[in-house]
């Protein structure tokens, strides 16, 4: 009898906590999303009227920012994958004695606040930094092209900030590959590229899936990079939710947008995991 009860007793405190501070808030969010302002609407008070067209209004009004969030997040995720895969490969298979040290180096930038690093990028890429004048001298960019306040800067910032989230799961799954499978592939006359395509890459798929999710999800909801590195023309859905909640105090619209963002991401994630065929993620 004790054996059967043990796992539930272990789960109880944690899940009670998650129920109170995660499930209840989400339910409350759903409830807020169909409310309408009381009376004239200037009071900041809302009543439940089950107005589901809040969703339609919120979406139509902000579809540009929604689209931008998903486009930026997708590009940043693909860029991060392209940068992180060779790096994770190098650490896992060529790291040798330096493997642990290199892993520390991957997480080390985390320890300097990501806001400080994002602001640092803003200054490095800004007019007073050294990158813009150099590129202008070489003639890669014209005199009146700027790097900050562009979608380029926002996507670059997101790629940079979420890179460790991509690298670590990739490393974990490449590191787990038995080197003998790679040798076997070579013995069977596969060249380096074929070995990579037919052996290494398929075996590292769990890392690719975990890494892309850990990058895409926070990137799609991010607004800090867009705020610091972007301009009003690069606003993402996170910026809209933030200002609706904290500045405009339009809770129903903010809640409808949040709920839509969450559901869209959950659907994409589910489809993606199905397609990639790795159920065991956590």
């Amino acid at each position: 009898m004790r054996k059967i009860r043990t796992p539930y007793l272990l789960l109880l405190p944690g899940f009670a906590f998650l129920f109170t501070f995660f499930i209840l808030p989400i339910m409350n969010l759903a409830q807020t999303s169909t409310q309408t302002p009381v009376g004239g609407g200037d009071t900041g008070e809302f009543e439940q009227t089950l107005r589901f067209s809040n969703y339609l209004d919120a979406f139509l009004e902000n579809r540009e920012q929604f689209g931008r969030s998903f486009v930026y997040a997708t590009i940043a995720t693909l860029l991060a994958l392209a940068i992180a895969y060779p790096l994770a490969y190098a650490i896992a298979l060529k790291g040798g004695k330096l493997k642990n040290f290199m892993l520390i180096l991957v997480i080390a930038p985390f320890f300097t606040s990501f806001l400080l690093r994002t602001v640092a990028w803003k200054q490095i890429l800004g007019e007073e930094g050294f990158v813009v004048p150099t590129l202008r001298t070489i003639g890669i960019i014209s005199e009146n092209t700027t790097l900050t306040s562009t979608s380029f800067a926002v996507v670059m910032g997101m790629t940079y900030n979420f890179l460790p989230f991509m690298t670590l799961p990739l490393y974990a799954s490449i590191d787990r590959i038995d080197p003998r499978t790679l040798e076997a592939s070579g013995d069977l006359y596969a060249n380096g590229f074929t070995t990579f395509r037919r052996v290494t890459l398929p075996l590292s798929m769990p890392g690719v899936v975990a890494g892309t999710l850990l990058t895409f999800i926070p990137a799609a909801g991010d607004y800090v990079n867009a705020e610091i590195l972007g301009s009003p023309n690069t606003k993402m859905i996170g910026n809209v939710i933030e200002s609706r909640y904290l500045t405009i105090v339009d809770y129903p619209t903010a809640a409808a947008l949040s709920f839509t963002l969450m559901v869209v991401i959950l659907i994409l994630v589910t489809l993606y995991i199905r397609k990639a065929g790795t159920e065991e993620l956590v």
Partner: protein, 280 residues
């Protein structure tokens, strides 16, 4: 593997070809150096500008000074914000590590009805964007008329830290050799003794890594904090608020100091771990 032998058997390779072969063989290593450089450019920038004799706005290099390091609390509010962040980080780490480790043991060690639902429950907070977590918690606090501030922020941080703790500790539990525990049982250790003397010490590095991860996630969080902290200011909030008019160099000092401190902790942990492995 046999580079040397190959080079010895083919002696007439021109230098240019040798160099390009060396590059070909080490391409991935050269790439790694570039990737790490990219990762560290803003860290180096932050460190360099912590020595800037900048006055109020730390935007342009004005000259070298040690003043900022000698007086890291010189800028208004910066140390209050730091203390807030450390307190919140400590409490959030404590709670999330305890709750998360218990969940990890339940999921990693037992098969029971509802196990896959439990996995889903851990995955959901990770699949929810921070802004949704932050906004939904704020609306709950508003319904119950709880003012945003210190404790709401701690609770919010525990929510997103738990999942990362569970995943980290679970991975460690999964990598344990079950024969070690069987051996303990064979040597007449009861369940409790086996857990305390064998299982827990073996899982401990995983728990330590999870705690470190939780602390750095909490310490660095801006989005969820911004929704739930009210008038309280954490270090990331301080940086964000001052970003527009230039961040005081003291913030760079604190960011750099945190970097070296955490690096020292991690490297010490690695060395201690290696020594224990050697002596064991």
């Amino acid at each position: 593997m046999n580079h040397k032998v190959k080079d010895a058997t083919i002696p007439h390779i021109p230098t240019g070809a040798r160099i390009s072969r060396w590059i070909g063989r080490n391409l991935i290593r050269i790439y790694a150096v570039f990737a790490f450089t990219y990762l560290f450019i803003p860290v180096a920038y932050t460190f360099a500008f912590s020595f800037n004799d900048s006055g109020k706005s730390n935007l342009i290099w004005k000259g070298f000074t040690l003043d900022n390091w000698q007086n890291p609390c010189g800028a208004p509010e910066v140390c209050t914000a730091l203390v807030n962040s450390v307190k919140i980080g400590f409490l959030a780490t404590l709670f999330s590590t305890i709750l998360g480790t218990m969940i990890a043991f339940a999921i990693g060690r037992y098969s029971f009805k509802g196990r896959s639902t439990s996995n889903l429950m851990i995955f959901l907070p990770m699949a929810t964007p921070e802004i949704v977590l932050g906004a939904s918690l704020l609306s709950l606090f508003l319904v119950f008329q709880i003012n945003p501030g210190f404790w709401p922020t701690v609770m919010a941080h525990v929510v997103f830290c738990i999942s990362f703790v569970v995943v980290t500790v679970k991975a460690r539990i999964a990598s344990l050799d079950p024969r070690l525990e069987q051996a303990a049982m064979d040597l007449y250790a009861n369940e409790r003794e086996t857990f305390r003397r064998v299982t827990l010490p073996l899982v401990a590095p995983g728990i330590a890594a999870a705690a470190l991860l939780a602390f750095s996630l909490s310490f660095d969080d801006y989005i969820i904090t911004n929704f739930n902290s009210g008038t309280l200011k954490t270090f990331p909030e301080f940086v964000y608020a001052s970003a527009a008019r230039g961040i005081p160099a003291q913030a760079n000092v604190i960011g750099s100091a945190m970097f070296f401190l955490a690096l020292a902790i991690v490297i010490t942990g690695q060395i201690v771990g290696r020594k224990r492995k050697v002596s064991a």
